[in-house]
């Protein structure tokens, strides 16, 4: 039996209109049927973009918003049906840490007053003396000095304010703490302090967390189980590592690919799935699968008509997609959206070329290298159908590379300037090439992009074979878009 169980929770906000009488003209389907279980001592992470209903779901657990339908069961008690006063008493066991640390602390109350308010409401501690002792102990736990008691929120930094918010939740000794974007308002160096604090407290006090955040990296770092939300419902739920290792829902795939990794080595190899368009309005959600309007793998049948339910695909991995298996096995291909490299193509990765000693030599090289480079690009931008030229260019390129791998890359820049003369055509050509791309073929297709040959010189240093393969691919690719144009 799980500590916290949500079953089919729905929160619908009515949209009112009318001057004298409020007529309900529709609903915002903020949360639309979410079922999940949180085990004691575990951290459940809820991720999703703004407007997906993750905050509303968190607030509905505490009944800070009314639940339209469904049940929230904490330790055997259905909170959705509790009358007001009982619910209020129950909230001692269920606390929340809010996103904005300054906005959620009363600026006119000092820290002692803020922290003892909840204790008084729940009858903890005989007198203020006893409460003060307890507060001091908690402040110490969250890493604040005990002289903080008489101070006011504005006297603290953002990280310290968030610690006060955590302390306020902790003084009531709750079972479950719901953290709504606990670190998103903080700077990275301070963010790490608060994340570590949350983890330490969990270990020490055996807390259960529901962490709501938009930052996948943060959620993955602290959660045992992650639920991904999109437009009011869960689209995927899995243990943290399984979700990262193999995201099964198209939305999760796109979301994870969009998170930049602070490491150029990783970024160079990564690809981003670009979704088309924006989040639809939750007041008027799409029929069928909520994600089908933006899904890169959306199919003509089922997706638009039948709403997929969360189903177990093994190992506690639940996913709400009709075609999760087919996408995973590579049977389906991209129908819209595109896959792009996470790194900018023209990025200069050879700082050696900047050293003054080499600059004269380089200038000379550029003028030399310009010719072959030129013939390569226009072959794609213009409609020059000469099959010979690319081949020549390839040879010349290779010769260049063999000589000075670094310089050849520099030579790409003038070539780009050339290409920029006809950006529209170049773009079309690139699109045409991408249109042919399929998911499985995503990686090889990447190598086909002529510009990808940029990377070849770098690899040429390591081994000849891959560089050759890539270089020979490039002219081929430049032919195809040429035809397409």
């Amino acid at each position: 039996m799980s500590l916290l169980e949500l079953d089919g929770v729905k929160v619908h906000f009515p949209i009112k209109k009318g001057l004298l009488f409020d007529r309900t003209v529709g609903h915002v389907y903020a949360v639309d049927g979410v079922s999940l279980k949180v085990e004691a001592g575990e951290t459940y992470g809820l991720v999703g973009e703004s407007g997906c209903g993750k905050t509303t779901l968190g607030r509905s657990v505490l009944r800070l918003v009314d639940i339209t339908e469904g049940s929230v069961v904490l330790d055997g008690t259905d909170l959705a049906k509790l009358p007001g006063e009982e619910m209020r008493r129950f909230r001692r066991r269920l606390q929340m840490v809010f996103q904005d640390p300054l906005g959620s602390l009363n600026p006119r109350q000092n820290i002692e007053s803020i922290l003892s308010e909840g204790m008084i409401a729940h009858g903890i501690g005989k007198d203020q003396e006893e409460r003060r002792e307890k507060i001091k102990a908690i402040l110490d736990k969250v890493g604040l000095p005990s002289n903080a008691l008489a101070r006011y929120p504005h006297e603290f930094s953002g990280g310290q304010r968030q610690r006060i918010g955590i302390a306020r939740a902790l003084v009531l000794e709750p079972d479950v703490i719901i953290c709504d974007e606990p670190v998103s308002a903080l700077d990275v160096s301070v963010q790490a302090q608060v994340i570590n604090l949350l983890e330490e407290l969990q270990e020490e006090l055996g807390l259960t967390y529901v962490v709501i955040a938009h930052d996948l990296a943060v959620v993955r770092h602290i959660s045992d189980t992650i639920g991904v939300m999109y437009l009011g419902s869960l689209v995927e739920e899995a243990p943290s590592d399984a979700l990262y290792a193999e995201p099964k829902h198209p939305y999760t795939k796109a979301l994870m690919s969009a998170v930049p990794v602070p490491d150029p080595e990783v970024e160079d190899k990564r690809e981003r799935i670009l979704l088309t368009g924006d989040l639809p309005s939750p007041a008027n959600p799409p029929t069928g699968c909520r994600f089908h309007t933006r899904c890169p793998w959306a199919q003509a049948e089922r997706c638009a008509t039948e709403r997929p339910q969360l189903r177990d695909v093994g190992g506690g991995h639940r996913v709400a997609c009709h075609y999760a298996e087919d996408i995973a096995s590579g049977k389906l291909t991209l129908t819209k959206g595109e896959v792009v490299s996470a790194t900018r193509e023209g990025v200069d990765d050879n700082p050696e070329t900047d050293t003054p000693a080499k600059i004269p030599a380089q200038a000379e090289k550029i003028s030399k290298a310009e010719k072959p480079a030129k013939t390569e690009k226009p072959a794609e931008a213009e409609k020059s159908a000469q099959a010979e030229k690319p081949v020549k260019a390839e040879k010349a390129e290779k010769a260049e590379k063999a000589e000075k791998p670094v310089k050849a890359e520099k030579a790409e820049k003038p070539a780009k300037a050339e290409g920029a003369e006809k950006p529209a055509e170049a773009e079309k050509a690139a699109e045409a090439a991408e249109g042919e791309k399929s998911v499985e073929a995503g990686k090889p297709a990447q190598a086909e992009k002529p510009a990808e040959a940029d990377d070849a010189p770098a690899e040429a240093e390591a081994s000849d074979a891959p560089a050759e393969a890539e270089a020979s691919d490039a002219p081929e690719a430049s032919e195809e878009p040429g035809k397409a144009v």
Partner: protein
């Protein structure tokens, strides 16, 4: 000769009886055509003030700007205000962080875009409207002619940012300053905007000054990265060099404190202790010393200088830098 050369830029607020506060304390960097240079730092490090100073958008009173900034050979700070206005928006343009508060809420998008075309390119009427629609189309806004008549609140966050980018690139500027262009956006939208900026730089050869707090954004985009702390550049390096060998304890600490999506779980983060408020004036020593694990007495004897390049284009302002062996222990294989 670089397109933009910033030399020892300082911005000091206050004065006239009030306590002075130096937001930017001697920043130097260069941006070249087709290059992306990143300014990375946490809030309060002076990155936004730097961009506003370069664009000439800081108030004229209540602060002093020192140092030099040359755009294509002309000094920006001695230029006449009218020459500056001609430059701003046409030759150099800026993308702001918050697209909703940077757009006028009571003026349709179309008017806001054509305004720039009228001012800088002398276009009028139908021609300007056509060009505006073309610009919106170019930055990926669907159905541009209809959108021209709409107000900012009718657009989604990502689309507002696109409209702002369309306004910035309306006159094909040679320098684009992007101040946290994706911070207010969701990650999937961020990916779209980053892709758009990449295209601009690669296809048009626009120079881009990228100001951000997100080291992940920098990793895939920038040629040269400057890490700022308390108004000074503490480390400057090429992107590969910086991420492979972060040498200043602050840069090293920043990388250690970011939870990474691809890192194995269960490893605690290594945060930097304290907060940006715990700093000393650069005049007294290293501003980062109170938070630094590698602090030694030498850190408090005057301002540390940006040292000799450790590798090509890699400079560090530290007397006791983190050497490679220390980093080797922490990097997961």
């Amino acid at each position: 000769m670089s397109l933009l050369t910033v030399d020892e830029l300082t911005v000091t607020f206050g004065g006239r009886g009030r306590k002075e506060s130096r937001a930017v304390d001697g920043i130097s960097f260069e941006v070249d055509q087709g290059q992306v240079v990143g300014l990375v730092g946490e809030s309060g490090c002076g990155k936004s003030v730097t961009s506003l100073a370069l664009m000439g958008l800081l108030p004229a009173k209540g602060l002093t700007i020192g140092g030099r900034a040359e755009f294509d050979g002309t000094d920006l700070f001695t230029m006449s205000p009218s020459a500056r206005r001609d430059l701003r928006g046409s030759e150099m343009a800026m993308i702001f962080q918050d697209p909703l508060s940077s757009l006028n809420p009571v003026v349709p998008i179309g008017v806001q875009v054509t305004e720039i075309l009228e001012r800088h390119r002398g276009m009028k009427g139908e021609a300007a409207r056509k060009e505006a629609a073309h610009l919106l189309d170019r930055v990926g806004i669907p159905d541009p002619t209809r959108r021209l008549k709409e107000y900012p609140h009718q657009l989604s966050g990502g689309m507002r940012q696109r409209a702002l980018i369309a306004m910035a690139v309306a006159c094909a500027p040679r320098l684009l300053i992007a101040d946290e262009p994706t911070t207010a956006l969701d990650v999937t939208i961020q990916a779209q905007i980053l892709e758009l900026l990449k295209e601009l730089v690669d296809q048009e050869g626009t120079a881009l000054l990228m100001i951000t707090h997100d080291l992940g954004v920098v990793a895939g985009l920038c040629d040269q990265v400057n890490v700022l702390y308390a108004g000074k550049v503490v480390e400057s390096a090429g992107r590969r060099e910086l991420f492979a060998h972060p040498t200043h304890p602050y840069a090293h600490g920043l990388l250690g404190s970011i939870p990474r999506l691809d890192a194995p779980r269960g490893e605690p983060l290594n945060p930097i202790r304290g907060s940006i408020n715990d700093r000393i004036a650069w005049a007294d020593g290293c501003a980062f010393a109170p938070r630094c694990d590698r602090y030694e007495m030498g850190c408090l004897t005057g301002t540390p200088e940006l040292g000799e390049p450790r590798a090509a284009g890699h400079q560090v302002r530290c007397v006791n830098p983190v050497l490679d062996d220390a980093k080797a222990e922490e990097v997961p294989a």
